[in-house]
């Protein structure tokens, strides 16, 4: 049986910020593939290019050279609108700082991706809230939640439109150990249930333990895989 087509493929991807003498290479010649349903952890020191790589894989940014194929689409060939539609459909994001909209309730925060896509919500938000164990807080606002709870809302928001890829940037970075392990276990389980691939940047070995594969980045280049 042939191997399934990769969900994301990065081919000799490089990313430069600035120009001339002030140019800084955040990524250099990175190539990798993420299979559907795979859980990949990116590790490395701060500033090694993890977030830059995540942004490229998640179609939030474009490489300076090389190319990224997401669901077979070359992100460099897409205009801003097409990139947005691709991202909207195929990618869910989880951030270290949660980034919930402070003016929306838990339910509404979870529903935002559906709203932007003009997709129906129905009972999805309560169901997602139940899955992240926040049924009781559906009508609460972000400032009424703990850090762990906020991150679980962010998780529900990232998953509600059933994306093929979840991009998680230090999702446990702002959490205590207990909350962190709860959130990471939830992320792994829900992604597996939905068949979504996860690419997660983390400093935490404990978090990386849930990954199928771990890649190490150093100064913008992949140095090892485990």
């Amino acid at each position: 049986m042939p191997a399934p087509a990769p969900l994301v493929r990065a081919e000799s991807v490089a990313k430069r910020y600035g120009s001339g003498d002030a140019a800084t290479w955040a990524l250099r010649q990175v190539s990798l593939e993420v299979a559907p349903g795979e859980f990949l952890a990116l590790m490395g020191r701060s500033g090694c290019g993890k977030t830059t790589l995540l942004n490229l894989l998640g179609a939030m940014d474009l490489p300076s050279s090389g190319r990224v194929l997401l669901q077979g689409a070359d992100t460099s060939q897409l205009d801003d609108h097409a990139l947005t539609l691709l991202r909207r459909r195929a990618v869910g994001f989880v951030f270290q700082a949660f980034h919930l909209l402070p003016t929306l309730s838990v339910r509404e925060n979870i529903e935002v991706p559906l709203l932007l896509a003009g997709l129906p919500a129905g009972r999805l938000a309560p169901e997602m809230a139940a899955r992240v164990e926040l049924s009781a807080k559906l009508d609460a606002f972000p400032h009424q939640l703990s850090g762990g709870e906020m991150q679980r809302v962010a998780l529900a928001r990232a998953l509600i439109h059933q994306p093929a890829l979840i991009v998680a940037d230090e999702p446990t970075g702002n959490l205590d150990t207990h909350s962190a392990s709860l959130v990471i276990a939830l992320l792994a389980r829900l992604a597996r249930e939905q068949g979504a691939a996860v690419v997660m940047a983390t400093h935490s070995h404990e978090a990386a333990r849930h990954a199928d594969r771990i890649l190490h980045l150093q100064d913008g280049a992949l140095v090892s895989a485990s």
Binding site: H81, F93, P102, T103, E108, P120, H143, Q162, E193, G195
Partner: protein
């Protein structure tokens, strides 16, 4: 250092927003300054008129109607104390230039006038006129030209003998006549005063007595005839006097060295009983100033509304600064900055913004002043008395006033946010939403404050105007206070109302969106799902799913629109403090626009109805130089010509004149029929009914005389004890009108002259046909104003609209200030919420959707402001109509809201506010990027 880091640099970096703030403040200040300069110009124009008349006189003696020359012998005992110079003070119409001249009849021989070195003009037989050089230049006239003026409906030709130089004390529409010539022109019924009956005197050197307006291009006066028995000017009273019918408008009194003006005034009073003013020229100016007090106060109050809206905006700008710099404030507090230091810092921001805005406002004010001056002058000419505009100049006090006003407003507005900044608890400040939750908890107290303010507004509306002595023109301070309190009550009500409304609106929109979703759900086949292990109900999509059916496409758009509106409601609710101030500011501008529009619209409709009832005749005739204060009587020959016009069925005569009642200027009128069944005015009575003594509503309110009340009327012939029979609606003057039947008038004042004629056309003759016949048949028709009913109505409404043009201009500027505020606030929102917009981009929002979100916010803000502003506007219109107007002018206005205008204004404001959100929406689309979120 803190100032530079926390205030100056952010202001400089957000220069676009800073500029918008400055512009909003500047416009508010500019309007106040422009009105201040215009009002001063209006006073200056009266001052110039008074100065032109007074010259070097120490006292002016004048009455509401001309003083008989017969009184002059009585002044003989005062010869040692003063010289008395009679004068005529009238207006004349120049039919060629279609302009009006202010004519002063003075004894030009009272002192020598010296047009040195000029050749005497050839005598043409026409009397000499000394004309303002500005007027001559404007109308292409030069020295020696003949000038034909319409006086009392008759043409009179003069020869321009000298041009009066431009002078800050002489109006540009001034013309001087020698007194005998003026008498001959203005008093046609008086015995002939020239034509060889008096000795001809050679031209004399003259200049000194003309004081401020000595001739610029001088020429010797042509020889003139001295009227038989004229009062030789400058002679002591008791000199040769002419026949009794000669009258003057007043006396200029020049005191002898060492004479006491007060003592002379006291001595003059019993000798000149017909005079109501015996005072220095400045007292006459005070009277004029008093007459304009209510009008000026109303305009100034409207101007201050712009500044009030500006205060809201300074509050918002500083509030946004505080919110945006919460982290920096918390850091500074953690590092040891005191509360007082932070308070000072943000007060300083308010001060800097307001001072810069004030300086800019001063410049704008200077630019606006000339236009404001023209509009104000036109209104004063329509409502009070004609006077030539004085130049609008800015003085150093204006600069101080502008900067002081701006600084005061800025500090007052910045106080609230600065206190909030100083009370920031470092730990709390780092948690989002804290500040807004504080606002929510204060909603109840804010509602209570709103209720208290509303109650105070009602109380003020019912308080009588302060210091309104019977007959005096009052400034409705309590009315203004009531309006201000109503605005503040609405502003205080905004936060609790929005706290109540916005979350519900957000939920409702979100729910509606859900309903729209359910109605249009199209389950996807399992094969098209992204993952076989998907969540129940999830409908993941592939690109092919975007080929939706049209109904689904509509539903999809609807879902997005409702969702964006819901998010917009959430955003407004989330930043309640800022939203409340923004919406309150816009609502205030809308309310003032609506309130004034309802007042003006109601007033216009009331006046339209009233004119229809008043104008019973078909055609009206009066002199082209007709002036409300001194209407020229029509010549008897004219009356005969009018009466003989074919097609005339009925004729009514009317006499109007200015009068002083209880020391206050008012007007008198009497009408009588010249043919059987002549048209009678159908007065609409506020109280009482027809009778020999009627008073207008402003008269009744000013002098507190209502039906059944008796009063004493001291006429030159006889003092009468009269009783008011009825009070009728009247909108011609706020000074009040006393209408007497002809016999009563004659007993007090003597036989009335005819100043106006009202004609009814015979059956089959249209009013316009009758007018045309009159124009053809009457001698000197160009010196007459002949109007048919329809054109007079049109003219009256044109004057009405012209009068309120300044009001519309002020409203417009207030709205501009508020809309600038919306743009400014939304621009700040974009900067403040950059991470949120970046997040939405991560979550799949297109750039257009981000722009749409901003537009949804501005649209929602406009809708809420209209919802709050429209009822407040209705309340303000009630205060304007029922309190301020009645107290200022004594007019009852029937409510006739101009619904179409209001709807159009609402739509315009809504669209303009939406447009104000367009630029920020563009900015939001540009700036949202991954790096913004990373930076957070």
């Amino acid at each position: 250092m803190f100032f530079r880091a926390l205030i100056w640099r952010p202001l400089r970096n957000d220069w676009g927003r800073t500029l918008l703030s400055l512009l909003a403040i500047a416009l508010g200040v500019a309007v106040v300054i422009a009105l201040r300069v215009a009002n001063r110009g209006a006073i200056a124009s009266f001052q110039r008129t008074t100065s032109a008349l007074a010259g070097d006189a120490d006292l002016l003696v004048s009455g509401p109607q001309p003083l008989p020359a017969a009184l002059l012998p009585r002044l003989f005992p005062l010869n040692s104390q003063a010289e008395f110079f009679p004068y005529l003070d009238r207006r004349a119409y120049d039919p060629r230039a279609r302009d009006t001249l202010h004519l002063l009849g003075l004894d030009l021989l009272a002192s020598t006038i010296a047009p040195a070195g000029k050749t005497p003009l050839p005598a043409t037989g026409h009397p000499a006129i000394l004309l303002a050089a500005a007027y001559a230049a404007a109308h292409g006239l030069k020295l020696g030209d003949p000038l034909t003026l319409s006086i009392g409906g008759e043409p009179h030709t003069f020869q321009i003998a000298a041009l009066l130089p431009a002078s800050p004390l002489a109006p540009p529409d001034l013309a001087l006549l020698d007194l005998p010539d003026a008498l001959a022109a203005f008093e046609p019924n008086a015995p002939p005063t020239r034509g060889g009956r008096g000795p001809r005197r050679p031209a004399a050197k003259r200049s000194a007595d003309l004081g401020p307006w000595g001739p610029q291009v001088g020429a010797s006066m042509p020889p003139r005839a001295v009227p038989a028995g004229r009062l030789t000017s400058g002679t002591r009273a008791g000199g040769a006097l002419g026949p009794a019918p000669i009258t003057f408008d007043g006396l200029r009194v020049r005191l002898a060295p060492g004479a006491n003006p007060q003592a002379l005034s006291v001595a003059l009073r019993p000798l000149v009983p017909a005079a109501d003013t015996i005072a220095p020229p400045r007292a006459r100016l005070q009277q004029d100033t008093q007459m304009l007090a209510a009008f000026r106060a109303n305009l100034q109050a409207l101007a201050y509304v712009s500044l009030l809206v500006g205060i809201f905006l300074i509050y918002n700008t500083v509030s946004i600064s505080v919110v945006r710099r919460r982290t920096a404030i918390a850091t500074l507090r953690a590092l040891g900055a005191t509360r007082a230091a932070l308070l000072r810092l943000f007060l300083l921001e308010g001060a800097v913004l307001s001072l810069l805005g004030g300086a800019l406002g001063l410049l704008f004010g200077w630019l606006l002043a000339a236009s404001a001056m023209a509009l104000v002058q036109r209104t004063i000419n329509n409502l009070y008395a004609a006077s030539a505009p004085a130049p609008a100049t800015l003085v150093p006090a204006d600069a101080l006033w502008a900067l002081g006003l701006a600084l005061g407003a800025g500090l007052f507005a910045a106080l609230g946010p600065a206190r909030a900044a100083s009370r920031t608890a470092p730990a709390q400040a780092l948690r989002p939403g804290t500040a807004e939750s504080e606002v929510r908890t204060r909603a109840l107290s804010s509602a209570l404050v709103a209720a208290a303010l509303a109650l105070a507004a009602v109380l003020c509306a019912y308080l009588p105007e302060p210091g309104a002595a019977a007959g005096g023109i009052s400034v409705p301070w309590f009315g203004f206070a009531s309006a201000l309190l109503a605005v503040l009550a609405a502003a205080a009500l905004a936060p609790p109302l929005l706290a109540l409304l916005l979350p519900r609106l957000r939920r409702a929109l979100w729910r509606q969106r859900g309903d729209a979703l359910r109605a249009n759900r199209r389950p996807l086949p399992a094969s098209r799902r992204h993952s076989g292990a998907g969540l129940p109900g999830i409908e993941a999509r592939t690109p092919s799913d975007h080929r939706e059916r049209p109904t689904q496409k509509v539903a999809s758009h609807l879902r997005r629109a409702l969702g964006l509106l819901g998010m917009a409601a959430g955003s407004l609710a989330g930043a309640l403090r800022r939203s409340a101030v923004l919406i309150a500011a816009l609502a205030t501008a809308i309310a003032v626009t609506f309130g004034v529009a309802i007042m003006v619209g109601s007033f216009r409709q009331t006046v339209t109805t009233w004119i229809g009832q008043q104008l019973q005749g078909d055609v009206f005739v009066r002199a082209a130089d007709w002036d409300r204060t001194r209407p020229a009587p029509l010549a008897p020959a004219l009356l005969a010509a009018v009466a003989a016009t074919p097609g005339l069925a009925q004729l009514e005569a009317s006499h109007s004149q200015a009068w002083s009642f209880r020391g206050q200027p008012t007007f008198l009128n009497t009408r009588w029929s010249l043919t059987p069944q002549a048209p009678r005015p159908e007065y609409q009575f506020l109280q009482g009914g027809p009778g020999p003594v009627l008073v207008s509503e402003p008269f009744a309110r000013r002098f507190r005389l209502w039906p059944g009340d008796a009063f004493t009327l001291a006429g030159p012939k006889q003092t009468l004890r009269l009783t008011v029979a009825g009070v009728f609606y009247d909108y011609t003057s706020d000074r009040g009108l006393l209408v007497l039947d002809r016999p009563t008038f004659a007993r007090a004042f003597g036989p009335p002259t005819i100043t106006e004629l009202g004609l009814v056309a015979a059956p089959g003759v249209t009013p316009s046909a009758l007018r045309r016949r009159l124009e053809r048949r009457l001698p000197h028709a160009s010196s007459l104003a002949i109007n048919d009913n329809a054109s007079l109505r049109r003219q009256a409404l044109a004057v009405f609209d012209q009068t309120f043009r300044i009001t519309y201009a002020l409203e417009f500027i207030t709205l501009i200030v508020a809309i600038l505020g919306v743009g400014n606030t939304l621009l700040a929102v974009v900067l403040e919420r950059a991470p949120e917009f970046a997040l939405l981009r991560f979550l799949g929002a297109t750039r257009h959707q981000l722009g749409g979100l901003l537009l949804a916010e501005s649209g929602l803000a406009a809708t809420l402001a209209l919802a709050l502003g429209a009822p407040l506007g209705a309340v303000l219109s009630l205060i304007l109509v029922r309190v301020i107007n009645v107290q200022s002018f004594g007019w009852t206005i029937q409510f006739h809201p101009p619904y179409a205008f209001l709807a159009a204004a609402a739509a315009l404001v809504w669209l303009a506010t939406l447009l104000a959100g367009w630029l920020p929406a563009q900015a939001a689309q540009r700036q949202a990027s991954a790096s913004t979120l990373e930076a957070e």
